[in-house]
Symmetry: C2
Subunit: 435 residues, 2 copies
């Protein structure tokens, strides 16, 4: 975080005004029977009310639970069964070429569990035998090479925590579809720790020919998903990844090998990658002409709009997680930028008239999700909750009006506008668009 | 990383000598039919050999795979079914009071997937209904309080990536058991991103009484697992955690609530925590007297040895992952310290006579796993591979002889000695102890 001292001082002062002080908490608690601002009830009152609580002994303390052979590979509690990826049936013609969404409204921190990372497929999930999988590097290279998985894993490797976002994230909101929840407005994003070999390392093996400027990456799925990527980016920070959150990549995320292109739209992060061809110009394949271009108001299309610009969303409160009466809460959300580090996230409670800077959870990593938090005392009135991300390049997340003015309403992709949740006096939250 | 420039320069130079240069790779590749140092075979040769490889079309590209409703909560590929937690049958009398081990030899980076985090139970895994779970804070406090899960989650929260290690990690090696693999010698460790409320925040609500110096934390399992913790630590960085790697904590890791005590031995990170009592001295409960004390040569026992000192292990090569013929490899491993950041990891290939500093993967976080890497050209001879971690306090991981000299061989706990893998000319790796 590079900021001048006065800005830090201003922000700390603003936080102090908002944050319930220790003394404040004590005063509330000392007031007697009333529930503390954040805290639970006094224990004597709870016991008098007959609650089954410690120091009483719950049923599950009276019998031995399962031991260490019960689940060689663990799973969430049965009480968390609603925390899953969800899709929208009407969105595409078939579910093999569709999307489901990360339940970001139920997640904390910055790591997305691999089992909950959103999926976007173009021909379903291939079941690949890693012993048979090969990666070919060919085209404008000195020596076309072919690698087994064992070859790849043996190379010097790197790990990086980074977000991955589908450019269609929020796309249903362009014209005001107003999906009913945070999972659907912003859930085409996840953030994992990826490990693999820098593509520059493999290209050094093959020897890049003079004049090569682009590469084609092809996946081993039924769609042979294919994208053109500038060689500059490939030599900068692209990773041929074999692991995700410590273990080998999940099938639906590209097992056994995925091209990870930090900060760039999800579909260029080609899953199940089996072929990289070098050339002197882009290939203009299906998924970079008929799809993944941005249709402008004048009928032309922006092509190769790779970078996912700064974006953010408040994940609590949100339509799926209403407020439970007046009192003090912590507003929480995630922010990210495909251009580098998030520098600041501002939060508004009045639809953008006033802004306060949120606290960013360290470590703030480049091209990764950042968790932001801001304490808020809700007095029970209506509110319009927004977040606005700023990144280290100086880019500021735009309003939907600013975005429409430049891009019109034809596009599906790259909607990163400031989003608004309306808090109703009953605590329920609506997804709204305000001018 | 705080280091002076000359140290950095020295280390960079050392790395350069070892690292296969780009030119080096090309020379090998250009030599013709030979397999490159790291790389795969020339594509023409592979095709001539009849390999089923790109640009051929594998079977899984010819049919649509499952779509986006197939797995609302994902799972690893069936080809990874050997990457699981494993236990050792003879270790304890019952599997409800036993341990299984993280497959660290198959993991990359620093994040451990929640499903693979080692387990240590004292009465099995309770199946807790979060709606019925309560946390009580009582004893030497101004106001005993009781919290529901909703109360806890509503508090200002923090996230932290940190390791957790059982003090018995490596314990079977004290007297030279020489377990057959890295999973069993060092697999009682994991590293996740945990989210929760600082315990200091909850204690401020309850109001710490004058004279309080310790707390007792009790779990809601059939063992009512209970430990005493100094209040200073509780007010420093202890977290009452409700989330692990983004989602709610897994049942076997403490669902729905776990005390996370950064850098301290695993058992004080009380799972299923339901009660925190403040007092002026420790309680001397079962698990801090008959267990979790270190029996010294003179028959006395060290008690309350909380901190997990700096430790490290090479996870590749290791007994489960032998070398596949002469050539260039990347030695990989993990290091950690309960006292703060890892400053440096040295690797020896000759049993400790000579050391080279490994590359540390950024970000290097305090009290978290750190991934280290070092390129190595194996000429096919015998080698004794070791790693040695140094932390920011100046602590250096000891040899087994140094440790035995001070602590004898009676103890099960806190073995953090430098570990040795012997590389045999056939590439197989043995677990050995050398003087």
């Amino acid at each position: 975080m590079n900021e001048d001292r006065s800005e830090v001082a201003r922000r700390v002062a603003a936080m102090e005004r908002l944050r319930p002080s220790r003394r404040g908490f004590m005063k509330v608690a000392a007031a007697g029977g009333a529930v503390a601002a954040f805290g639970g009830p006094d224990i004597k009152r709870a016991l008098a009310a007959g609650e089954n609580l410690p120091p009483n002994v719950p049923e599950w303390m009276k019998t031995l639970g399962p031991g260490v052979t019960a689940s060689p590979y663990g799973a969430p509690s049965k009480y968390e069964k609603e925390v899953v990826r969800r899709n929208v049936g009407w969105l595409t013609a078939s579910e093999e070429s569709s999307i489901n969404f990360t339940p970001i409204h139920m997640l904390e921190g910055i790591i997305t569990p691999s089992g909950l990372c959103f999926e976007r497929h173009h021909g379903g999930v291939p079941e690949i035998d890693p012993a048979q999988h090969r990666l070919v590097i060919h085209g404008m290279v000195a020596r076309p090479l072919i690698f087994t998985m064992d070859d790849i894993v043996r190379f010097p490797s790197v790990s990086r925590i980074m977000f991955l976002e589908c450019p269609a994230n929020g796309g249903m909101e362009w014209r005001g579809a107003q999906m009913a929840g945070c999972q659907f407005t912003h859930g085409m994003v996840h953030c994992c720790e990826w490990t693999g070999v820098k593509l520059s390392t493999l290209l050094a093996e093959a020897g890049v020919a003079k004049g090569a400027k682009w590469l084609l990456a092809e996946g081993a799925d039924a769609a042979a998903m294919t994208r053109s990527i500038p060689l500059d980016k490939a030599l900068d920070d692209v990773i041929v990844a074999y692991a995700q959150n410590g273990e080998r990549i999940r099938p639906e995320q590209g097992y056994p090998l995925r091209l990870m292109v930090p900060g760039w739209e999800g579909n260029v992060n080609v899953k199940w990658v089996r072929r990289i061809k070098l050339g002197d110009k882009p290939w203009h394949h299906r998924e970079e002409t008929s799809k993944y271009t941005d249709l402008m108001p004048d009928g032309t299309a922006r092509q190769f709009t790779f970078v996912q610009e700064a974006n953010s969303v408040v994940t609590f409160p949100c339509p799926e997680r209403p407020l439970d009466g007046k009192g003090t809460y912590e507003i929480r959300g995630i922010a990210w930028s495909g251009r580098g580090k998030i520098k600041r996230v501002d939060v508004s409670l009045d639809g953008g008239d006033n802004w306060r800077s949120a606290q960013l959870q360290e470590p703030v990593l480049s091209k990764a999700l950042v968790r932001f938090r801001l304490p808020w005392k809700w007095e029970g009135g209506p509110a319009l909750v927004q977040s606005r991300a700023l990144d280290e390049t100086g880019y500021v997340q735009p309003t939907i009006e600013q975005l429409r003015k430049v891009r019109g309403v034809n596009s599906i992709y790259h909607k990163n506008a400031i989003h608004t949740w309306r808090v109703n006096p009953n605590g329920k939250i609506d997804n709204v668009q305000i001018a």
